[in-house]
Symmetry: C2
Subunit: 335 residues, 2 copies
Amino acid sequence: MATIRDVAKIAEVSVSTVSLAFSSPGRVSPRTLERIRSAAAAVGYVADPLAQSLARGRSRMIGFVVGNVGNPFFGDIRRELENYALEHEHFVLITDSSGKTDRERDLIEHLIGLKIAGLALAPSSFGPDYVKFVESIKVPMVCFDQKVAGIERDFVGSDNFLAGAMLTEHLLQLGHRRIAFIAGPQHMNTASERYRGFVETMASAGVEVNPNYVVDGQFTRSAGYEAAMRLLIQPERPTAILGANNAVALAALQAMQELGFSCPDDISLAMIDNVQWSSVITPRITMVVQDTLQLGNIIARRLLHRITDPDASNEPAQDFVLAPKFVPGNSCRRI
Amino acid sequence: MATIRDVAKIAEVSVSTVSLAFSSPGRVSPRTLERIRSAAAAVGYVADPLAQSLARGRSRMIGFVVGNVGNPFFGDIRRELENYALEHEHFVLITDSSGKTDRERDLIEHLIGLKIAGLALAPSSFGPDYVKFVESIKVPMVCFDQKVAGIERDFVGSDNFLAGAMLTEHLLQLGHRRIAFIAGPQHMNTASERYRGFVETMASAGVEVNPNYVVDGQFTRSAGYEAAMRLLIQPERPTAILGANNAVALAALQAMQELGFSCPDDISLAMIDNVQWSSVITPRITMVVQDTLQLGNIIARRLLHRITDPDASNEPAQDFVLAPKFVPGNSCRRI
DNA sequence: CGACTTTATCGAACCGGTTCGATCATCATC
DNA sequence: GATGATGATCGAACCGGTTCGATAAAGTCG
């Protein structure tokens, strides 16, 4: 590998001039610049990113930290961020915490050790310690998906209250009154907002929520399955189930199938968030989806703005909240 | 941030001794070691990984390069690798080429610039140029998923011939003779092997393959959909369709649903490779799945062996080929 | 007890860049 | 023609570690 000193020797200039020639070509005379460039080309010189990062104290890498890179929701966001970053000569390092807060912390510390230029984080936790940790990160960053109270950082996400409300309203319109809700962990903002959307929409319509119809699915497949089972074995079954995320809703569908209930003939089903291959799942589930491409785009722009604009660090944290979209399926029937 | 010189000053030793104390504690006297350790603890010293990598010419990071990190197949492998690497104090950098060979090359070069200790690569291409490029990579590496002719590296994958043969045999046993095959790109080893498994099993059973029943689905959803449509509009329709991967098979299911055919009553369907949520897809597809955990485990062990064992570089490249597993569903009926 | 090894530690060079103040030639201004 | 501003280039220090040969002290052996 050719080093900057090799280039300097061939071009008969000092090392510092070569460095200058690449970082701010305008400050080198045209003749020298040309000599340096052809010398560099001759030996195939490429600056060592590691050495650059060490000297500058900052690299051109962006950290992307989520709980599950396999989740298509995060996948779409990642792709948008990668494309945008690449256009701006930055490089995205993807990491996966498997939803574990300890590992998330390790990953972030590791990334900071790598002197990343910025960080896109989908927070996996909450509470004072966690908030303190995130607040202590001095790298430019954007949080997304989960709004965490106390973290004063740019945030990009969807209107989860609206998501819950839209599907509830839809079911009410179809004549449903016995609507069940499989909730997520209430400490998560997405989960509590979706639940609030459900509750308040029911209240506005003057329909009482049967406490037996609200169960906790933890946003996971297994807990969602158990929660759905608890709903389905009740003597007075709900006529519709609203799943607070894709995992619990599909787990509910599976439970219904196993117990021999037909969807939507026996029970209607609606869910928040899409899954891959939803179009081949029978019935096609009525859902509300997030605009992942737009979310990713905003995250990318905002993060690169904070990275590249030197006085962006003075700008106050800002929230970007997008409206989700209703996607009708055939899993809800009129009653 | 405390540096090694701060520690040296406090412990009243030279910088080189501090370095030695951390890299090979045995070569420092117990008393000095203790002084250094407590000094380091006092100022919270942690070695800068960037500076270490620069000085050593090698980092403790492992590159993971695939075409789609959202694919659960790669996701399982990634998780295994991450866990194993973490146990051995290595850190996995995930990157996604979106299946584009140019980007894959950029990513790999970027990772090498970062002086990664090793590379796990799911090759995205083939041909002399590509082989030459991969062969030129001097970092310890393991290839997986796609066996590429000409690349002399460790390879970990599944027996794709067997995968195709198993499902074909299953359909033949059920009495099917008019079996269609939605193939993948034949330059990919997985695709051609699966196809060969189909063809040879048919031949062994003395059943002729109708040329109109073999269509190209490119392993993608859209091409698979078109291919399936071509099968379904024929006057003499196949009684069973075998999808060479999950995308084309599910696209075929969608096509069948849209044309009003029932699976398995009208047409049976089988596929290679699982998808998330396959258990809520109606009907449950009969399939052959790869042992992703085992694959990931072998990749991880092999790669870390090559990284940590100094004379592993002399060991010849080795292939690890695992048998896939048959998972019955209810998408194939006896005729 | 002298010769030889072993052990502990150190200084200096190095990895491959960046950055800042200094230097010197060139040019415009009065 | 002296004065000051401007532009191009350079040397040296620095980022934060590793590594190797040198050195001195301690231990081994005949």
